[in-house]
C-alpha cells in the first residue's frame, strides 16, 4: 500500500487494509482464510477498475500533483544510464527549480531540461515547489543552445504549477524569459522531445514545452491556468476547482484530441506513484521511439514540421479555414 492516498481512493484503501489484516491473521490463526481472501481480492480488482477507469479531470489533477508522484530526477534515475548536471544562467544565479544537463538513454546522448519539485519540506523550499524564476528559464535556454551547438537532441520534462509570481521574478523579467524560450524553441536547430510528466502550468510550462513530439503522461494535466486560479477569477471561489478542471478539459486524452499532445503515455493503474518503474519504462519507450523517428530526418525538415505543427493549432470560423 502506498503511503499517501487521495479522498476518492478511500474505498480502495479500506478494502486493501482489510485484505492485509486478513492475510496477517491467516498466518497466525487456525482456519482457512483462502476463500475470503480470494473474494476480497476480486472485490478490490472490481472497485479499482471502477474508480481508476472513470477518473474525472479533478481526480486526475490530484494524481498529477500527488506527493509521491515521480519527479524529473526520479525519472532520470530510472531512465538514464548517465546524467551530468550543469548549473546557472551565467547572469544571476542557479535556479534549482529547473535541472539541466547531459544524459544518456540506451546509448543515445541528449540534453535534458526539466522542472524539479521537492519531496521533503526543506527540499520543496529549495526547489521553490517547481516554480521557476527567470534565471531558471535562462539556464534552460542555455542548455538548449548547447544541445543545438553540439547536435544533441533536447529532452524536456515539464512539471510545474507555473512560473513563480513574485517580486524578484518580475524584476528580472519573467515574461521576457518565457517569451524568449518559446520563440527560441520554435526555431531551435535540433530535435526537441517534450514530456509533460505532472503539472503543465500555463506559460511557465510552455517555456519548456515547444517541441517536435509532445508526450504526456496519462494522469498529467496541462492548462492555461490552474483550475483553482480559473475558478477564483470566474466564480470568485477557488473551491470550484473541480468545475473548472472539467470545463477547461486539461487531461492528456483531451489534449490529444485537440492536437496539442502527440502521445499519451500510459500509467500504471492508480497513477505513476503506485509503480514508478512501470511508469518510467513506458515513458522511456515513448521517448526512444520519438528520438528514433526524429533521428532519420534532416534538421530543416524537423524545424519546418515543428512550425506547421504549431501553425495549425486553433479553432475558429471565417477566413477561409
Amino acid at each position: 500500500m502506498v503511503g499517501q492516498y487521495l479522498e476518492f481512493e478511500r474505498p480502495i484503501v479500506e478494502l486493501e487494509n482489510r485484505l492485509e489484516e486478513l492475510r496477517r491473521r491467516s498466518e497466525v490463526e487456525e482456519g482457512d482464510f483462502s476463500k475470503e481472501i480470494e473474494k476480497l481480492e476480486k472485490k478490490i480488482e472490481t472497485i479499482k477498475r471502477e474508480v481508476y477507469g472513470n477518473l474525472n479531470r479533478w481526480q486526475i489533477t490530484q494524481l498529477a500533483r500527488h506527493p509521491d508522484r515521480p519527479y524529473t530526477l526520479d525519472y532520470v534515475k530510472m531512465i538514464f544510464s548517465d546524467f551530468i548536471e550543469i548549473h546557472g544562467d551565467r547572469l544571476f544565479r542557479d535556479d534549482p527549480s529547473i535541472v539541466a544537463g547531459f544524459g544518456e538513454i540506451e546509448g543515445r546522448k541528449v540534453v535534458l531540461v526539466g522542472q524539479q519539485k521537492g519531496r521533503t519540506t526543506k527540499d520543496k523550499l529549495y526547489r521553490n515547489f517547481g516554480m521557476p524564476h527567470p534565471e531558471g528559464y535562462r539556464k534552460a535556454l542555455r542548455a538548449m543552445k548547447l544541445a543545438e551547438k553540439f547536435s544533441l537532441p533536447v529532452l524536456t520534462f515539464v512539471d510545474t504549477p507555473g512560473a513563480y509570481p513574485g517580486i524578484g521574478a518580475e524584476e528580472r523579467g519573467q515574461a521576457e524569459a518565457i517569451a524568449r524560450n518559446i520563440m527560441e524553441m520554435a526555431g531551435l536547430k535540433t530535435p526537441i522531445v517534450v514530456a509533460i510528466i505532472g503539472e503543465g502550468g500555463s506559460g511557465g510550462a510552455l517555456a519548456l514545452g515547444v517541441g517536435d513530439r509532445i508526450l504526456m503522461m496519462e494522469y498529467a494535466i496541462y492548462s492555461v491556468i490552474s483550475p483553482e486560479g480559473c475558478a477564483s477569477i470566474l466564480w470568485k471561489d477557488a473551491g470550484k476547482g473541480e468545475t473548472a478542471a472539467e470545463i477547461m478539459k486539461i487531461s492528456a486524452r483531451d489534449l490529444e484530441k485537440f492536437g496539442i499532445v502527440d502521445v499519451v503515455v500510459e500509467e500504471p493503474e492508480g497513477g505513476a506513484h503506485r509503480n514508478p518503474e512501470a511508469a518510467a519504462e513506458n515513458l522511456k519507450r515513448e521517448i526512444l521511439s520519438a528520438l528514433d523517428e526524429l533521428e532519420g530526418m534532416k534538421i530543416e525538415e524537423i524545424v519546418n514540421k515543428r512550425y506547421e505543427k504549431y501553425r495549425k493549432i486553433g479553432e475558429f470560423k471565417g477566413g477561409g479555414k
Binding site: A163, Y164, P165, G166, I167, A169, E170, E171, R172, G173, Q174, A175, E176, I178, A179, R180, I182, M183, E184, A186, G187, S202, G203, L206, A207, G209, V210, Y222, S223, V224, I225, G229, C230, I233, L234, W235, I247, M248, K249, I250, D254, L255, F258, I260, R306, Y307, Y310, R311, I313, G314, E315, F316, K317, G318, G319, K321
Partner: protein, 289 residues
C-alpha cells in the same frame, strides 16, 4: 415605468445643465479638464500626462497615415470549443463584446503607412474581453506577422491584454507558441519589430510577442508584467511597493527600451524604423551586392 422615464428625463436635463460632454474628470489627477483639449491631445491629460485608454480606431489614427489603413482578417470569429459556461456562457460574452466593440475580436490587424513607410500593424482592444488571446487573436497576430515577413515590411504590435483566454483552454496557451514561431521567422528574416506596450500588458501576451520586440516601447504608467499584481500579493502575502510593474519600473529594471508619450509615439516609431529598415528593395539589393 412612468417613474423610470421621468427619472431618466431628469437625469438628461441635468446633463445639459452640468455639461459632462464638455468637461471630464481626469482618473489620475482628479482635475476637471476640457474634453476637446484631451481629445486633441490623443486622450492624454494636459495637466498630469495621464494616458486614458483609447479605442483601436483612435490608436490606429494616432500611428498610421490617414487613409492608408487596410484591415486584414476582420471576418475571423471565435467559436466555443469547450462549451464554456461560468457565470455566463462564453458565447454570450463574445456576443456582448462584439456588440459593444462593433468588431469580431480583441485584436485588429492590417497594413498601412507610417510617414510614408509601409508597415504591418496589430492593435489590441482591452475592452474586448480584456484583450485576451484565444484562437482568433493568435491566428490574426500570426497571419499579420507572416504577412509582414512576406512583404518584407516592419511590424508594429500595440499590446493591451490580460493574457491568454481561459474560455478556450489550453488551445489559448498554444497561441503563444504559434505567434512566437511566426515571430522567430520574422526576426530571422532581418526585419524590424517594434513592440508598443500599453496599459495593461500581462500574462500570455506579455510572455510571448509583446516581449519579443527588437525595440520595446511603453506608454507612461502602463502596467506590464507576467503575473498580475493580485496574484503576486496573494503568493507572497504582502503588499506590493508603489509603482511596481509600471512602465517606469520596467525601464529602471532594463525590461523596456523607452517610455514614450502617446503624442510622440508616431514620430519615435518612424525615427527608429529609419535606422532599422532600409526598405524592401534596398534590402534585397544589399543582400545581392
Amino acid at each position: 415605468m412612468a417613474l423610470f422615464k421621468k427619472k431618466e428625463k431628469k437625469k438628461g436635463n441635468r446633463k445639459v445643465t452640468v455639461p459632462e460632454n464638455l468637461w471630464i474628470k481626469c482618473d489620475n489627477c482628479r482635475e476637471i479638464i476640457y474634453r476637446r483639449e484631451v481629445e486633441r491631445n490623443l486622450k492624454v491629460c494636459p495637466k498630469c500626462n495621464y494616458h486614458f485608454r483609447i479605442t483601436v480606431d483612435e490608436r490606429i489614427s494616432s500611428l498610421i497615415d490617414e487613409g492608408t489603413f487596410e484591415e486584414f482578417d476582420a471576418d475571423l470569429e471565435s467559436v466555443d470549443i469547450l462549451g464554456f459556461v461560468d457565470t455566463k456562457k462564453y458565447t454570450d460574452r463574445l456576443a456582448e463584446a462584439k456588440r459593444k466593440s462593433k468588431r469580431n475580436e480583441a485584436v485588429v490587424t492590417g497594413r498601412g503607412k507610417i510617414n510614408g513607410m509601409d508597415v504591418v500593424i496589430a492593435v489590441f482592444d482591452f475592452a474586448f474581453l480584456g484583450g485576451s488571446m484565444g484562437c482568433v487573436v493568435g491566428e490574426k497576430v500570426t497571419r499579420a506577422i507572416e504577412e509582414a515577413t512576406r512583404r518584407e515590411v516592419p511590424l508594429i504590435i500595440v499590446s493591451a491584454s490580460g493574457g491568454a483566454r481561459m474560455q478556450e483552454g489550453t488551445l489559448s496557451l498554444m497561441q503563444m507558441a504559434k505567434t512566437s514561431a511566426a515571430m522567430k521567422r520574422f526576426h530571422d528574416a532581418g526585419l524590424p519589430y517594434i513592440s508598443i506596450l500599453t496599459d495593461p500588458t500581462t500574462g500570455g501576451v506579455a510572455a510571448s510577442f509583446a516581449m519579443q520586440g527588437d525595440v520595446i516601447i511603453s506608454e507612461p504608467g502602463a502596467l506590464i508584467g507576467f503575473a498580475g499584481p493580485r496574484v503576486i500579493e496573494q503568493t507572497i502575502m504582502q503588499k506590493l511597493p508603489e509603482g511596481f510593474q509600471r512602465a517606469e519600473f520596467l525601464l529602471e529594471k532594463g525590461m523596456v527600451d523607452m517610455i514614450v508619450p502617446r503624442t510622440e509615439m508616431k514620430e519615435t516609431v518612424s525615427k527608429l524604423l529609419g535606422y532599422m529598415y532600409r526598405g524592401e528593395k534596398k534590402r534585397a539589393s544589399g543582400k545581392n551586392g
